[in-house]
Amino acid sequence: MTTLAPPVVRGQEPTRSRGGRSGSVLVWMVLPAFVMFVFFGIVPLIGVVVLSFSTWNGITPTIELTGLTSWKAALTNEGLPNALWVTFLIMALSWLVQTPLSILLGTFMARQSRYRGFLAVFYFIPLLLSSAAIAITYKSLLDPNFGLGAGLGIEALNQDWLGQANLAIATLIFVVSWQFIPFHSLIYQGAVRQIPDSMYEAAQIDGAGRVRQFFSITLPQLKYTIITSSTLMVVGSLTFFDLIWVLTAGGPGDATRALAVQMYQLGFQASLMGPASAIAVILVLVGIGLSLLLRRLGGRADQSQMEGA
């Protein structure tokens, strides 16, 4: 990729499609992805909305529409506020833990050349393990009787990691971080390496220390990367299902029962497909709301970046 010339002034005006022919070719190009996505993304979404107005039990061959019954059941379900709260908690905490640590690791790896390759290979392995495998491993390691604590002989590690509400959430966040920090630090590593050294040199001439350099150069330069990485983290956290399911199955009690888990339990375990679909719609709305919010942050950033270019 070294042949790519450095960009000159980037045109602000959109690349106009030249004439009808070119435009229709472009439409053909977008069509396969559009059709696939509409078919398996948008149509199911409409299906979820329709199912949320039924009381299907998942077994009967016919599906009858029964108005708002399922919505009432879902919205008055005591579990809903808890599920929303747990979802939010997982989202916020996993972002708060992962972002600074990923930036720290990414910054370090970008500057450290000697062990970078070595560290990068090992850091990346967690991302390669399935959530189910990770959950099984941690379940065994955290067993209060046969796990890590027993192995090291450290009584403090023999906690009821998955059996107490706060500990279970903390454990979940830790496992999520274990799984995803490597990926995000890789993103940050790439971004940090693109910050021109001349900026640091200038700062050094001005007598700025490392910490100040980090806050006045590195962090501002990483702004767009932070938005991208945060989008992936926040939107991704809505879809944590596998990990929670195998690790705690939503327990203890309902301490880790996020919306996705709640939906699954209602629909596939309690045979209440209607309320489960209603929760699914709520989940989608939360997701769309979040992505719009993040897009506004990102959109404004894009604009200003373009103005500056």
Binding site: I59, P61, I63, N145, Q159, G163, A165, P252, F268, Q269
Partner: protein, 437 residues
């Protein structure tokens, strides 16, 4: 009808995009080779049951070269999920393995399983099975499943070596248990092992505590759908006692982190880290296989759950699985149904079937098995058989007896009860809310 349009639309469009199906072996097995039917059969994988299930099918296929039964085995949790989705997708196997009770009832209501009442009109066939096993196969007076495999009462296990070491003897009453708890705790041994993450393990405690406290009527009323059936004062008393157990550290530290599927709960008992455990009779085989010489050396003790002082329940009562159940899919072809029925009336009631389940360490649902208990597990099997036969009431496990909807709420509330997240009163209110659902 909107729904139908939407599906027709999507199906039409999908057909164009669909690739040639590879590996699409329809589990319904409607396309059969040979003259007879070709029934598909789904059941649970793993020891100790799978080899004997396989053996029965091999025997049948050998004896009936014209027809063929094809088995598929699933892990327990996966199976529950699969069978439900398969029924919804009209992809059910010919032979549906199950636990009877509420799950079977939901299949019946959806018209998914065959009515076998007239099939069991044959008294000679019916008499080959333990009469108590038909309760959970019956919905509204009609039989929809054949009881198979083993009777599995839930048992009170204890580690004799640990009892010796601490210098105490096996409890005779619930009061004795309460006395034992601080003694074991003082020695750093967990009084009871409990796989608290797997909710149904906690449920076994409630089942016995309620029965010994209040008798079997309370749950009968719940099962019958009587409004407010959980409001019996004996229920509140029982729930309070359970929470007291949790508060006095009757269960191992971090019990809510222990899951039954890794069998870590049973490891606690045979490694001597816990002194007692309430678990299904199948646990005997697991402890024998994994506990080294623990069972062979007489380390494992067992009995029926002891009576509660002042309780109304009959101390002979027990809870558990009165059998496993096989139903025939109503969607299967006539030939396949015939094959399935032949399998029921011949292979599943033959002497080899009986001997096989005895050999597995279990108590068969087939009648007149007592003379077969001669192996190294004879004492355990005789005791289990006696518990099953001597029980005034052999109740089915609650989560199996109730509908999937009610049972999910039940398990959820039980988990919260052990977490001390709900009070006994809240528990009663929550459970009254789903009676008859």
């Amino acid at each position: 009808m909107k729904r139908r349009n939407f599906l027709t639309l999507t199906t039409g469009a999908a057909a164009g995009a669909a690739l040639a199906a590879c590996g699409n072996d329809g589990p319904a097995g409607s396309e059969s080779g040979g003259g007879g039917g070709s029934a598909s059969y789904w059941s649970l994988s793993g020891e100790p049951g799978e080899p004997y299930r396989k053996a029965a099918i091999d025997r049948f296929n050998k004896a009936n070269p014209d027809s063929k039964i094809t088995p598929t085995f699933f892990q327990n949790d996966a199976y529950k999920q699969k069978i439900k989705t398969a029924l919804g997708a009209n992809q059910a196997p010919t032979l549906i393995w199950g636990w009877g009770g509420g799950g079977l009832k939901s299949y019946v209501e959806a018209g998914q399983v065959e009515d076998l009442t007239s099939f069991f009109g044959d008294a000679a066939l019916k008499s080959k099975l333990l009469p108590g096993s038909f309760g959970a196969a019956t919905v509204d007076g009609k039989i929809y499943a054949m009881p198979v495999e083993t009777v599995q009462p839930i048992v009170f296990y204890y580690n004799k070596k640990v009892f010796e070491q601490v210098g105490v003897s096996a409890p005779q009453t619930y009061g004795d248990i309460l006395d034992l708890i601080p003694k074991f705790n003082a020695k750093g041994i967990a009084p009871f092992s409990l796989a608290g993450q797997s909710r149904w393990t906690n449920m076994m405690w409630l089942e016995f505590m309620l029965d010994r406290n209040a008798g079997s009527e309370v749950f009968d009323n719940v099962f019958a759908g009587k409004a407010g059936a959980w409001s019996d004062p004996a229920v509140l008393d029982m729930l309070t006692k359970v929470q007291d157990l949790v508060k006095m550290n009757a269960f191992q530290k971090g019990f809510a982190s222990t899951a039954a599927d890794t069998n870590a709960d049973q490891a606690l008992l045979y490694t001597g880290k816990a002194a007692m455990m309430v678990h299904g009779s199948w646990s005997y085989g697991i402890q024998k296989a994994n506990g080294g010489k623990f069972v062979a050396d007489g380390g494992l003790g067992w009995m029926n759950f002891p009576p509660i002082d002042g309780g109304k329940g009959d101390p002979t009562n027990t809870v558990g699985n009165p059998g496993q159940y096989l139903s025939i899919s109503s969607k299967a072809t006539a030939a396949d149904k015939e094959t399935a029925k032949k399998f029921f009336s011949t292979t599943l009631v033959d002497d080899e079937e009986k001997a096989g389940w005895v050999k597995s360490g279990g108590v068969p649902v087939l009648a007149n098995s007592d003379s077969l208990y001669t192996g190294e597990d004879a004492q355990f099997q005789k005791d289990m058989s006696a518990i099953a036969a001597g029980a005034k009431t052999f109740a089915q496990s609650w989560d199996q007896a109730l509908s999937p909807t009610a049972s999910e709420v039940l398990l959820d509330n039980i988990a919260k009860l052990f977490q001390l997240q709900v009070s006994p009163q809240q528990w009663v209110d929550n459970m009254n809310g789903v009676i008859g659902k």
